[in-house]
Amino acid sequence: MTDDLIVARGLGKSFGATRALDDVSFSVKPGRIVGLIGPNGAGKTTALKALLGLTRFEGALSVLGLDPYRQRHRLMQDVCFIADVAVLPRWIRVRQLIEFVAATHPKFRREVCEHFLARSDIKRGSRVKELSKGMVTQLHLALVMAIDARLLVLDEPTLGLDILMRKQFYETLLNEYFDEQRTILVTTHQVEEVEHILTDLLFIDRGRIVLDAAMDEVQEKYAQVAVRPEHVAAARTHQPLAERQGLGRTHMLFRDTPRADLERLGEVGVPSVADLFVAVIQGARA
């Protein structure tokens, strides 16, 4: 037995001739914030749909110890979800929406929702279509965070929000929602804004997991070096995963190369998730 919250083994899914998911295996422990990161069409949304029981799949998948497709109803009591196409009915009033969720979700805590809304400019009598895009997201987040769930799935949660709203979104999430009993799975293109929030990385490309690592591991294994011109040839003998020309320096990404060797080549730093992502995806496709 493990205490893993999600266990996927050999997950597969085809749409016609396209393999959207191909032998995907990974697991997620409680209390983690996992970034599922991949280019468009990599299989992120299909993977999330499988986890949420919204699609059939090949292979074995357990979420909170349940089969998401067969036991979706039970699963949904402990999982909440914000989709990139976050749709709330345009005609509904905020007050009605709260009533609806309160009536349908057993773990909805109305007072928590009211607490979040009290800090926004959202009026109870407004219809969704009268709210700004930022307000709709705030409303959605208030509804979802008020659900006492163990797993929160966020699919491109900040798409279309300005930078202040995005900042506020993650600040609220960390301050008022996340704790060691809860787990968050997030997909986003905005890698920079989540990279320090994540505890774990899952890179997916062409339906396959190409990197599965805790952030701690990433920081130990990988290093970004600003290589001085005279050391470029020597640096290449350590087989960098990626190379990019900078101002008077060549930036190279190394894996499992002893730090002492790297320090002779130039300034050693921690690679950004974006740099790592580009290198790993290129490597996987080569």
Binding site: I163, E192, H196, D216, G269, V270
Partner: protein
């Protein structure tokens, strides 16, 4: 998105250094509580494990102590211990470099002392209130 961190050191390490600077500057005094992990995580949008790791490092160095159920506090004598280390570090590592540079540039001690008055004070280190990025910046989407 943040100008708070540089990429030369892991963030937990930079967080540790920032708390150390706050203790040295007297922003945090012996016995003062550290801001909660949650509030620092939210403020900087860091995962709480990173903050915990930074704090744990301070605990390992006996600069900070955990008080059950109440959070983290600056250890009695932390500032004195740090100051001792820092002074030693300065004399052994930094001062020889600076002294060498002063010599190469041909400064007289008198000149440097006179110039001291013109140096503006440094802002005190803190765990909050970093300047906000411009709202219009980095608003690209795809």
């Amino acid at each position: 998105m943040d100008t708070n961190w540089n990429d030369s050191l892991p963030i937990y390490r930079q967080l540790r250094d920032r708390v150390v600077a706050m203790i040295l500057e007297g922003v945090l005094n012996d016995g003062d509580p550290l801001p909660s992990v949650r509030s620092v995580a939210a403020e900087y949008r860091l995962n709480p494990l990173t903050v915990l790791k930074g704090y744990q490092q301070l605990v390992d160095e006996q600069l900070v102590e955990k008080r059950r159920g109440r959070g983290m506090f600056v250890t009695e004598g932390a500032r004195r211990a740090l100051l001792k280390d820092e002074r030693q570090h300065f004399l052994e590592e930094e001062w020889p470099r600076i002294a060498g540079r002063i010599q190469r540039l041909g400064f007289e001690p008198k000149e440097l002392l006179e110039h001291l008055d013109k140096i503006p004070p440094e802002p005190a280190p803190s765990l909050k209130g970093a300047p906000e990025p411009d709202a219009a910046e980095g608003d690209e989407r795809d």
